[in-house]
Amino acid sequence: MKIHEYQARDLFRQYGIPVPDAVLCHTVEEVEARVPDDGQLRVVKAQVHAGGRGKAGGVKLARSKAEAVENARRILGMDIKGYTVEKVLIGNAVDIDKEFYVGLINDRNSKSVVLMVSAEGGVEIEEVARVSPEKILKVPIDPLTGLMEWEAREIALKLFPDIRHARVAASIFLKLYRLYLDTDSSLAEINPLVVTQQGEIMAIDGKMNFDDNALYRQSGILSMREVTEDEQKEIDAHARGLSYIKLDGSIGCMVNGAGLAMATMDMIKLYGGEPANFLDIGGSSNPQKVIDAMEILLSDKNVKAVMINIFGGITRCDDVARGLISALDQIRTGIPIVVRLSGTNAREGLELLRSTGLPTVATMGEAARMAIELSRK
């Protein structure tokens, strides 16, 4: 789960990480009402779940209240990578002396949380990682000790030669780590963390993602969720035991298992088609799940053909076939559907499906080819 910059900023403040003053506005009128005409230099920033806001024109300086209003007017309603801007954060600009990067992630290799810091702040860290990885210091945090104070200070001293700055930075690392653990975060970034001309240290921009598996115990975080229509569909699907992600193609697919579902999408692409979605219905032969999946799938108007790809393991293919028959019975659609069954009792399953008149095949390749063909009719 993702949150907006302004929400990450709120969490930072709760944990004592200094941030510049700012106001969140939903409308131009709100900007008029809440931003004082005091000559303060401000930054107007689009609040969207997408990177590259700056390049897209979603971040603008404002030298006056009038300019803040004008920029908010331009940015609100803007489309950035498919996300409509519904809020802007208008924050005081600070005199930046130096910019740093601070991030925490769950790391697969060390099986721990890793603290990443860099003196190359303010730019995309992925770019730094690509061009000059040696400029990012990565420290795996021992889960048994957590980030220790001496450790945070040792790391801070590598970036901040002035001990006063290093102490503040170390305390920010510790606070961010505490926040990260407390909220079951999967990514927490401050970029940039700046030292101002006045010698203050502040988090100018922040980003936080959260572990979806832990949201059941993170009601505070969950209440921050703001989603687009497509995302809402994914969440609804999840609530019904389905993993659904909308894509841009025309071949809908319904698969049991995430790996197989990805492989199915890949195969559609390999054979010249474009998958319309990722959809994993999990391990059971429950007809209701198939019905739910079909409904979600067909709500996408781009879908021109559907490929159902089932591998029968513990659940036998003949049971799956019965479930499919019972489900397809209730679904009235003009969209062509290809069914592929394989694995345990595949033959029996395909036999049963013959009665439906649906095209049935035994391999993924055939199914993909046939679905692509049908989508073009």
Binding site: R108, I268, M364
Partner: protein, 288 residues
């Protein structure tokens, strides 16, 4: 021979009175796995399908000499169940449960290591040494004894591939589903080493997917350490960045973790990568 499990493996099922635990305990027993105990707090003393139930893993282990455990308890309690098994001295713990918070797994890892416990999963289908021992939810009937070692981050895709191998008369020493979560137990590198050392294993199939860089690391490890042939497949070439593709671990972050990078790494290591699953048996046979 095989790796990790064989006919001497003595299994305890944690969460044996739950729906999935009960169902698969029977399935595993029917396959021939020595399911020696179940654990369900408060139900100690009862017997389920001939399997004695205990209140704690410690009791189960002391009474039955169990040396492996499989976990079917719900996600909020799974990490604690792993710790219970590990602190009771169980050597191999296989966690089937899906949806375990990553923070919980990160906490578990160093403790399991200290206790000398090997973990597989969570969010995995388990592992099997065909004809000897099945732990987890794998469909036993599609596996067959033979010379191929297999490891995979996914479930049904694994079955798909195993089915093709078996149909092409390429049986398996041991097949392991390592799980689809970002922080998990034994991973490619650990298992590649074990397969390398297992005399029965003649070739290895590695099924990867997008997210993380475990496949890249595996590729480097193969290049430097493996004498046996490896064939790879990577799922998720068409996955969009930033989206979680079912598995919590299958997410492309800011241009890293892509299928393209992984395939490149395998190519650089001289490991053939199948364009689609059906090519795997042929590629492997040509190298054996």
């Amino acid at each position: 021979m095989s790796i990790l499990v064989n006919k001497n493996t003595r299994l305890v099922v944690q969460g044996i009175t739950g729906r999935d635990g009960a169902f698969h305990a029977q399935k595993m027993k029917a396959y021939g796995t020595q399911v020696v105990a179940g654990v369900s707090p408060g139900k100690g003393g009862q017997v389920f399908e001939g399997i004695p139930i205990f209140n704690t893993v410690r009791e189960a282990r002391e009474a039955t000499g169990a040396n492996a455990s499989v976990i079917f308890v719900p996600a909020p309690f799974a990490a604690d169940a792993i710790l219970e098994a590990s602190f009771a001295g169980v050597e191999l713990v296989v966690t089937i449960t899906e949806g375990v918070p990553v923070r919980d797994m990160i906490r578990v890892m160093p403790l399991a290591r200290q206790n000398g416990t090997r973990l597989i999963g969570p969010n995995c289908p388990g592992l099997i040494t065909p004809g000897e021992c099945l732990i987890g939810i794998l469909p036993g009937n599609i596996f067959k004894q033979g010379p191929v070692g297999l490891m995979s981050r996914s479930g049904t895709l694994t079955y798909e591939v195993v089915n093709m191998l078996t149909e092409n008369n390429l049986g398996q020493t041991t097949c392991i589903g390592i799980g689809g979560d970002p922080v998990a137990g034994l991973y490619y590198r650990d298992l590649l080493q074990m397969f390398e050392e297992d005399p029965e294993t003649k070739g290895v199939v590695l099924i990867g997917e997008i997210g993380g860089d475990a496949e890249e690391q595996a590729a480097r490890f193969i290049k430097e350490n493996l004498t046996k042939p490896v064939v790879a497949f990577i799922a998720g070439q068409t996955a969009p960045p930033g989206k979680r593709m079912g598995h919590a671990g299958a997410i492309i972050s800011s241009g890293s973790g892509t299928a393209e990078e992984k395939i490149k790494a395998f190519n650089a290591a001289g490991v053939p990568v199948a364009g689609e699953p059906s090519q795997i048996p042929g590629l492997l046979r040509s190298l054996l």
